[in-house]
Amino acid sequence: MKSASLRAVATIALSALVAASLILGLLPSYWIFLFTSAAIAGVVLQGIGIVAGRTGMISLCQMSFAGVGAWTVAWLSLHEVPGSLFLWILIGGAAAVPLGVAVGLPALRLRGINLAIVTLGFAAAFDDVLAATTFPGQTEFKFVTRPSLVESDEAYFAFCVAAFALVAIGLELMSRTRLGATWLAIRHSERATAAHGVSVPGGKLSAFALSAFVAGIGGGLLAGQLGTLVSDSFNLMQSLAVFVVATMVGARHAEGAAFGGILIVFVPELLRQFALPQDLGDILFAVGATQALSMGASTSETFRASLRRLRRRRAPSPAHIPAAPPIAAPLTSPCASSAAGARAPAVSIRGLTVRYGNVVALDQVDLIVPERAVTGLIGPNGAGKSTLIDAVTGFIRSYEGTLTMDGEPLDGLAAHQRARAGVRRTWQQTRIAPDLTVGAYVRLAAGRTVSQREIADILEWLDCPPHNELVAEIDIGTRRLLDIAGAVAARPRAIFLDEPAAGQSYEQSTRLAARIAELPDRFGTSVVLVEHDIDLVRRTCSTVTVLDFGRVIASGAPTAVLSDDAVVRAYLGAREEALAG
């Protein structure tokens, strides 16, 4: 992992260096000024890339945050606060953060579209406030002072490119942390992210705050470049335009943000060179952006996809066919076999009742999940199995009954808190963000510090692809295995597996059965297995509970339960003899 980070950082740094040198060496100062503006626009775009590109939240007030940064820098410069422009820009960025938090906070737990409208309202209100404010130094005809190191246009250009590269490097490193994976996961599925024990509002807020910081830095850089500011640079239409460009170019990638910056600055310049009216640029922008957005993927995503295809064509990787892998060394010492004796329950469900309006989905369900055992939960479609999992893991707000884990009540805890307490689940429909790598996903799901070694072991054990493969390139069946791997890596008290064998071949599900049976001994975790594949259930479970229409109709050892009349009737609708006769 380390070498990949180093490689990415080096690529960014090198490209920035080469580009800057070329521009400085070849172009006159007029063009250098334009490229400075492009670099600054690129910084702002990277900010949007965090909140919109990675986390999938629509933010329409980024230029307002930039305005805060710019205003702060101007103020610090006018009052000659020690530290020079370099420090002022950082302070400007920090000044935008509380505002970002304040704007983002109320809308975080609501649907994403509410945040979009809140940011729109904020941008409009901020517009009015900023328009009536005099920028510090404006009336005194004083300009933002640059330190002598970056006094000239050329030096300032180099400074802005360096700033862009630093932001890109910082974000690249961040994307390899758990927080970075959280952002991508939130974008794809908030439920799944919570099921990993991650606080979704916290993740969203961190993205929002960081994007405000980066935008503030962009504003500070602008203040340094122009020396004087007008409120129109940060108005609502600017925020809207910059959002569209960010979506178009895929600003969460550094090359996308760079391309977007160049677009923003050079299209109007092109119009000027051809003496065309400037508002034609806006019309072209509308048409071009709509066209680009209709492509489905942003320009940087398309670029990266074609790079990957190129790389694959040149060095085709061996097809990943899971042969019977050597079982890795046991990760925990195997203890006594799964004799369902007198064991304290890991999870205890008593009298669970869930109503959706008039429909009773679960009716007084009792279920004991014994420690270190695999419990089956079966029943025909619509019996309420997934509802039970949802209720236990915290995705249903109102239910009756009590849920306890190791004697401690789970009721009242939010989904991510229950996950952290030790209740994990997998999903019937896989909700793994495709942009993550396998290793990043497992680390995100684990929630604790896991070593490289341990991740590799778990992945191999479950026939999953290696850690640096992209989830987008994995088939659905394997993704379900990855889902289990993530849950397992967290070493929880109990895992609820929701139809893990769906979409697997016979061999695969046989192997999966073996793995599931080993889970309690190897990892010390209890398993609740929801399945339609009765063979799998027979092979893995020490106890089976049957649900039908929300009620428990049978519970006990697998052989007994599966030959129970009531169970057969529930599945088939009539007794075998009656049908045959």
Binding site: A52, L110, V118, A125, M237, D279, D282, A286, T290, S294
Partner: protein
């Protein structure tokens, strides 16, 4: 205080009506339509330009409404054709991009320098209340918001087409599969929304800056009203829009706050959201 509160009533009616259009579009076709007010401005200026060419006012109004509806349907067609399955972010980005282009085009055609003469559809005073003359236009816009909301609610609940529309909005794929003419219904939604916005702006534009850009920016308070209706409830949106207008009127009195006055409506919306999200639940789709 009452005077300034009532003075904001005219604005409130506009926000209410535009807000209801926004919620209608969002609920029915799942698009956050940032061009809502710009569409209304297009219809309004079509009416103005036709009237200036000598077309009598009623005919110009009808043609203006038709023009606004047409532009709206065009945008709806673009959204349905290429962005039906796109993420919410992409759809929002597209309507924002279209808005930027529309404003540039609108300013070019209607000329940003000299004001056109905007004929008043409902001139004159309705009644006087607490020292404020409530204009007929203000009354009509509020009544129109209420009428549109009532009509939309009744239509959705009690007619067959309304039922099909609700099915479409809940699950477009399933609606298509059960034989509901989704494309027709989608176009219908955009047409109606465009016509309503055009009429709304025609009524109130004489009272506001007759400038394409400023009329298009009415989408901001419209969405604020929609937000107060939690993007679901029409009646709350109407109430929210009127409340916003009144709030703006009241805030204009708070001279001590100076320019920060602009933040008052926004802060109140934030507070309402904070209160509302204590009962937030998981998004069904994800």
């Amino acid at each position: 205080m009452l005077t300034s509160a009532l003075a904001g009533l005219a604005a409130g009616g506009t926000y209410a009506l535009l807000g209801v259009c926004a919620v209608f579009t969002y609920r029915m076709v799942a698009v956050v339509n940032f061009t809502g007010a710009a569409i209304g401005a297009a219809g309004t200026f079509a009416m103005v330009l036709l009237n200036e060419q000598g077309v009598p006012l009623p005919a110009a109004v009808a043609m203006g409404i038709a023009f606004g509806a047409l532009i709206s349907a065009l945008i709806g067609a673009v959204m349905a054709r290429w962005f039906a399955g796109a993420s919410a972010q992409t759809k929002a980005a597209v309507t924002v991009a279209i808005l930027v282009g529309m404003i540039a085009l609108g300013l070019r055609i209607t000329g940003g320098q000299h004001p056109h003469r905007l004929p008043e559809l409902f001139p004159g005073a309705a009644f006087s209340l607490a020292g404020v003359v409530i204009t007929i236009a203000a009354t009509v816009s509020i009544l129109l918001a209420v009428a549109f909301t009532t009509g939309a609610t009744l239509f959705l609940r009690h007619t067959r087409a309304g039922l099909q529309l609700r099915a479409l909005s809940e699950h477009p794929m399933a609606a298509e599969l059960t034989g509901i003419r989704t494309r027709l219904l989608t176009v219908l939604v955009w047409l109606v929304s465009g016509a309503a916005s055009s009429l709304a702006l025609m009524i109130v534009a004489p009272q506001r800056a007759p400038n394409f850009l400023s009329l298009s920016e009415l989408i901001v308070p419209a969405f604020a009203a929609a937000l107060l209706g939690f993007l679901r409830n029409f009646w709350l949106t109407v109430a929210g829009g009127i409340a916003l207008g009144i709030l703006e009127g009241v805030a204009s009195n708070l001279v001590s706050l100076n320019q920060y006055r602009a933040g008052v409506p926004f802060l109140i919306i934030l507070a309402i959201l904070l209160w509302a999200q204590r009962g937030a639940r998981w998004d069904e789709i994800r």
